[in-house]
């Protein structure tokens, strides 16, 4: 315990969440989460999350380590299914359909809800093959010409084309950390997702590379819905339109970023964003 850190309010007293209803020009809801709970075996990692994420905006998830923000992100494209022994309650609706419905094709869901990981993980193949992989396995492009065109399109969208256009068939692993991450973004964009989930995409990068990623995110939100998890509050403040604050598996507050960082409704949120804990 550090000196000067105020006593945290007891959890029972922390209210569920506050939504802002003041904006009149809000875009439609892309992801509608209702009473979501998530269990690793017996342990409850997420408790009663209800939130609506809107289209064509950047929503940021913030909170201290272990608060469940990454876990929650992964429930949105069912990546947690890969881990044995996990269980979900509640619903996650994308375009009105609950993605946890047994009739849903998980594989297709993951194409439509793309993901970029904290540590960039390009395949040990060429730059071109990395971006083309998603197209090939999903049967989204036929013929070398079409594939090449889509690869170029995605690399441009990820602001990487100019740097790699002359060496598309070089190994992806030869790129710098920042370039690899943009390649991973290009790879995700190639399959034309509706939503792009980004799990601390810049945490392993230097400040200049981070800046380029943040600029890219700003560009991308015109065409995509972006949800970004970050432990860097300043990044959340720079990059996002809406921010959700998680703590110990609960959603404490969700509102426009401006309000969250200048005048949050919850004391807990205020303590976190002013750096009193976390």
């Amino acid at each position: 315990m550090m000196v000067g850190v105020p006593a945290l309010p007891p959890l029972a007293a922390a209210p569920r969440h506050h939504h802002s209803r003041s904006d009149s020009a809000e875009s439609p809801v892309a992801i509608d989460v209702d009473s979501l709970a998530f269990y690793y075996g017996e342990k409850r990692a997420l408790d009663d999350i209800t939130i609506q994420l809107r289209e064509h905006v950047v929503s940021a998830f913030i909170g201290p380590s272990g608060c469940g923000k990454s876990t929650f992100l992964r429930t949105l494209n069912r990546m947690n299914d890969i881990i044995p022994g996990t269980r979900v309650e509640g619903s996650v609706r994308i375009d009105g359909v609950d993605v946890y419905d047994p009739a849903i094709d998980v594989v297709d869901l993951r194409r439509r809800v793309g993901m970029v990981f904290q540590k960039s993980n390009p395949f040990p193949k060429s730059i071109f093959a990395n971006v083309a992989y998603g197209l090939r396995i999903n049967g989204m492009a036929r013929g070398k010409a079409e594939i090449a065109a889509r690869v170029e399109e995605s690399l441009r969208a990820a602001a990487l084309w100019d740097e790699v256009k002359d060496r598309l068939h070089d190994s992806a692993l030869a790129l710098s950390g920042g370039q690899q991450q943009r390649l991973c973004i290009a790879r995700a964009l190639a399959v034309k997702p509706r939503v792009l989930l980004m799990d601390e995409p810049a945490s392993a990068l230097d400040p200049i590379a981070t800046q380029r990623i943040e600029e890219l995110i700003f560009e991308l939100k015109k065409d995509f819905t972006i949800v970004i998890v970050t432990h860097n509050m300043q990044q959340a403040a720079r990059v996002s339109d809406y921010t959700a604050f998680f703590w110990l598996g609960r959603l404490v507050e969700f509102d426009r970023t401006e309000k969250m960082f200048t005048n949050p409704s919850e004391k807990l949120t205020e303590d976190y964003v002013t750096g009193r804990f976390g």
């Binding site: 990546m79 540590k119 993980n121 396995i137 999903n138 991973c184």
Partner: protein, 298 residues
Amino acid sequence: MNAVTAATIRPPVERAVARRRRRDRTFRLLAQSALWLALAVLAALLMSVVSGGWERLSWDFITSYPSRRAAAAGIYPALAGSMFLVVLTGALALPLGVGAALYLEEYGRGTRLERLIEINIANLAAVPSIIYGLLGLGLFVRALAMERSLLAGACTLALLVLPIVILATREALRAVPKSLREASYALGATKWQTVWHQVLPVAFPGILTGLILALSRAIGETAPLITIGALTYVPFVPDSIWSPFTALPIQIFNWVSRPQTAFLQNAAAGILVLLAVLLTMNSAAIWLRDRFQKQGVS
């Protein structure tokens, strides 16, 4: 105290320590000599084989057929038989072994049946090779009516080396980082697409090395092949998988069992050929592994 007494009267603790250090040195020498003895035996073995067979080794020897006259006998059919066997065994053991390993590593859910399968694989690795021969005799030669053919031999050897392939493949699969699979799934790939396009290519060098290790073992096996009826006097090269056959170690065994010195020389020469083949295979394994490791994940 004068110098003499100081040097000759040592306190009990120092004496004990000195004794311990002597014992430690003796023990270390003993342990070291165990290792050296083992190496010496290997050297003696190689020398005895080389001195026994080097003169007999010639191109003629490699390309001739066996004969009742030791001087004219060669190992050509045995060499051909071994080569065919190795290829056939590999063709059987690779898909079956990789398939089993893939199921256990990528599709497994930790059920009791899977535990049983894993226990079985571990047990089969420790079953004496001659038991596999009896299995081959009862199952492949008789029950499945393959008779004493190349195919029966290959099936028997494939079962024998299967645990090796499975184990090596599982380790190779485990070495593939999880992040690779996650990246593939996140793009909407199915499990098999992920396995085929991402996991197997990265695991490939390890799998190949395991296969060559398994085949090195197979090529030196004698007992199971004798049991299923590989012939020891085969004056022809097998012409199909249904054909009877012989193999290098069996030919060597045949010659070693004769009292005449000339045949013993043939046996030694045959051993040199067998060792040369083994050396080539193992070197190929090491070379392949290094080459792929450079190419792949850097």
